[in-house]
Symmetry: D2
Subunit: 302 residues, 4 copies
């Protein structure tokens, strides 16, 4: 079934809240997300800033210990302008260099849906009007956390959250561990484009039209978020420092290979040894994000 | 001038040692490197293990404060078999998972120069005979460090060293700060292929035929290694944890953009904001490595 | 006013929950805490494991932006036996050493209130019956977090939580930022004694009789928990890695010195320069803890 | 035998250099050290800045795999004034706070040997003339590193070096692994007093009269520096981040307890569990330092 959902309220924590919609496993939802500052498709702030989330959506039959599959069907900016921070965060340069960072105002980027580009409009600098390709993605999405926690959308964890990974584009399938009945899926914080690491603390922040298909893998238990696209399977580690993100993601990949791809422990290690790839999600939020990837062409046939 | 140099001794520290050859800026050297274990093109150990280096090469005119340019012209395995570790390091998985890591013997990979592939020969596992593309690279190379230090080839720093970055392939140009007269360039630790992070502690270790062209940028001072290939310019940060690698590399990229690309500070920050990319070198050695990249197509015209 | 409160339910997250008792600023509460496993003064598990908290207590007049003062009047084990883990966590030894860690059962420690000692009863080892002094402390206590989050008692943050600092003994005054009306104070996770770092993941876990006096500093805003005892003032940073804990705590100390002790920025820095001391809270939980201390005798007279 | 050695040259790297004096195991040396800036007992710079070291001293019979014992007999400032940095390093505060750090000139501290105090003379600030106790210590000392490296006195490692631990005072015994024949012992970087973490990047830097007694433990192999004083045995971990320092130090302590105190693995873990203490050396240098301590009164009788 395909639901069209118009949000009227938003959450800035992922927690065990009252669902805004109950759907069945396999259903599709088309909805909208406001930008990180609470701005809607007209650029009007309709809710307080801080990655406000649409949802939560309750998927019938999802129970703790299951896995929620989120197919990102469509992520499309629904207005003509996005905003971003203009200067890299003090935490991503040498501490001795921080005093040399400038203090420019927020940037405005014009979005051209026809050309599929974003063009820097302001502030004015020696860079001029830089034009880059659109790569629409979701910065923050996930499920209600374990132990009935309610966790800020500024950060991330086993439940997903603010991961800011450039790979979360349309066409990607993402897996989350289920901690609450119904899984309680949230989404928001769309970026028209983003640099690796989200090192300025934002992508090009914009409201989105989003379509997702949610389904449940009964009895399938995972520890960290997983995903796949046409080319790769991947796992996501959210923590600090980056070293620990990589540890979580690598461990989850070993588990995946052994559980689902028929590999023994030695085989899984050998496969990773020369084929593993890593991507950086964000190195800005309270918890950073790194992604462990493996090309599907190297996987054993299931 | 094109030199053909046959090494007869090797160094396991990068330091202010007597040059094995003196060349002029712009000269080309064709030479060989032994593998990380000291094995030559016949697989015979001719020197103790530990990333033994060919060199150092003295480039006339290079003085502290200059930059050495290393054009990687050719990196070609010169034997039919490489070796690798088979299991990910305890430091790249969750500490609680370490006890589940297996303890397999070293792996052997057969190298097929015609097909440009490496095929896993042993140990036997559920993975079978995995075949992957050759991507020959140098794991450890660089110059004599500052303050007349002599630093182990197990680690890395401003002077380069054991960075284990998959991007150090033929066709890449690498820049090092010069700390000693003549720069004193070393090279070794060739990998027929390698996973990101060198998470097992090795790539496919093999001896190489290498050709490099060395030249000096007089009066050009850099802090961390830099590089470029057809598509990207990049900077290299070597430290621990990964967070600090990223800080070093990002700071160096900002310096580069402002010094050489005519950008003011705001422009450099805006350019990085949505266009920066990061790669992981190794997360195994005493100092880890991360690379900050920027696509050349987004750079202002110089 | 002195309240005697008998808890009947417990929380394993610190969040904006219904108060169990409303008191006035300056009131004293005598109550009990169960041990980390939910065991009461008879050693009977009365609630699920995971640092269950007594509370929350609502302090009238406390509003976001104020500071809650917690005077730890008394912390006294209320039974004759505590339990602990027996082996250091894999995360506090070299990753290459993890496989050498033994796998002993939980330890039992006999508590002698008269002698003020704890004696190791089991497991049997070459160490024999080690006897150490009692140093009763609270491992986990704090207030409801910002943004109406509900955060697991396994971890810590600006709101306090599971800090496992040996300095949280009777006679200590602790300051927390207030994020919710009434502050909503929780307490639990008593330790009869504990090593620095809580490196086995527990102290000697035991139920406690606790007396605290809670009061509100209206209009006083702090960022991280602060405290003082007869000898020191101190600030608490909760994060990962330890480096970041130290950064938070040091920054908070500079703020404190400048705001409340009449020091200019140079004076505050000079005072810290040769007089600062640091203690380790835990290096076990998702967020670690470090404490920045300054001896009161070096403070300017207020 | 008691040697009186007057240095005429200094080293800014610890490496396999020509000894300035050869002594026998058990001999005592009285000598002097210049301050971190190269200043002698008259405050005259006699060698370039950067923790210049007196030595190396060759101890006959010391071979790789042995342990060098350094008894710190006396460490006494030999002039009336020391200098220090006045502001905490950007790396020890929150990155977002760095821009608020002031930029004062170096501090001068007057040393009063009779009163055993140091008094802040300048810069002038709201703090006034702070007087603190003298606690003379060595910031940087150690032996020639493994693999014939030459490592800057700005940093530290298994060989010791720039550890900046307040516990390295007279009366302390320190153990170093021997990597080179004769051990090659260096010393320098005296501090009249120092805060934990050396968070401004210096203690009160001053030249010293130092007396040490050096002896060799044949066939005794250790991995990281160890030490002891009247109350504690301790181990030293030098690395980044602090987490890794603690891992090294804890692992070394477990090894020590099992090798020399007759404890089995379970006993060593149980002993650490509730009795371990940690101190912070520096969190300023390229490698940080943490110390793992155990009170002697809890040790089994050897």
């Amino acid at each position: 079934m395909h639901h069209h959902f118009v949000p009227t309220c938003y959450h800035r924590t992922l927690g065990p809240y009252e669902p805004v919609l109950r759907i069945r496993s396999g259903d599709t939802i088309s909805t909208t997300t406001v930008d990180a500052g609470g701005g809607n498709h007209r650029g009007v702030a309709v809710t307080p800033r801080g990655n406000p989330q649409t949802g939560p959506f309750h998927v019938e039959g999802a129970e703790p210990g299951d896995t929620l599959v989120v197919q990102l069907d469509q992520i499309r900016p629904n207005r003509g302008s996005g905003w971003a921070r203009s200067v890299v965060a003090p935490s991503v340069v040498d501490p001795t260099y921080v005093k040399q960072l400038p203090d420019p105002p927020l940037a405005e980027w014009a979005i051209d849906q026809a050309a599929q580009t974003a063009t820097l409009v302001s502030p004015v600098s020696s860079l001029g009007r830089l034009t880059i390709p659109l790569e629409p993605m979701l910065g923050c999405f996930g499920v209600a956390p374990f132990r009935q926690q309610a966790i800020s959308t500024a950060t991330s964890g086993e439940h997903g959250g603010n991961m800011d990974y450039r790979g979360f584009v349309a066409g990607t399938k993402v897996y989350f561990p289920v901690f609450e009945p119904g899984a309680l899926f949230f989404l928001g914080d769309g970026h028209a484009a983003q640099g690796d690491g989200e090192i300025v603390g934002t992508g090009i922040e914009i409201s989105m039209d989003v379509t997702v298909t949610l389904s449940v893998l009964k009895g399938k238990t995972i520890v960290w978020p997983r995903g796949e696209n046409a080319e790769f399977i991947f796992t996501v580690g959210n923590a600090r420092p980056l070293d620990q993100c990589l540890q979580h993601a690598t461990t989850e990949m070993l588990r995946w290979l052994e559980q689902d791809y028929g590999l023994d422990s030695v085989g899984a290690n050998l496969l990773l040894s020369q084929c593993v790839r890593y991507d950086l999600g964000n190195m800005f939020d309270p918890a950073y994000t790194m992604v462990c990837k493996l090309a599907k062409r190297f996987l054993p046939h299931r």
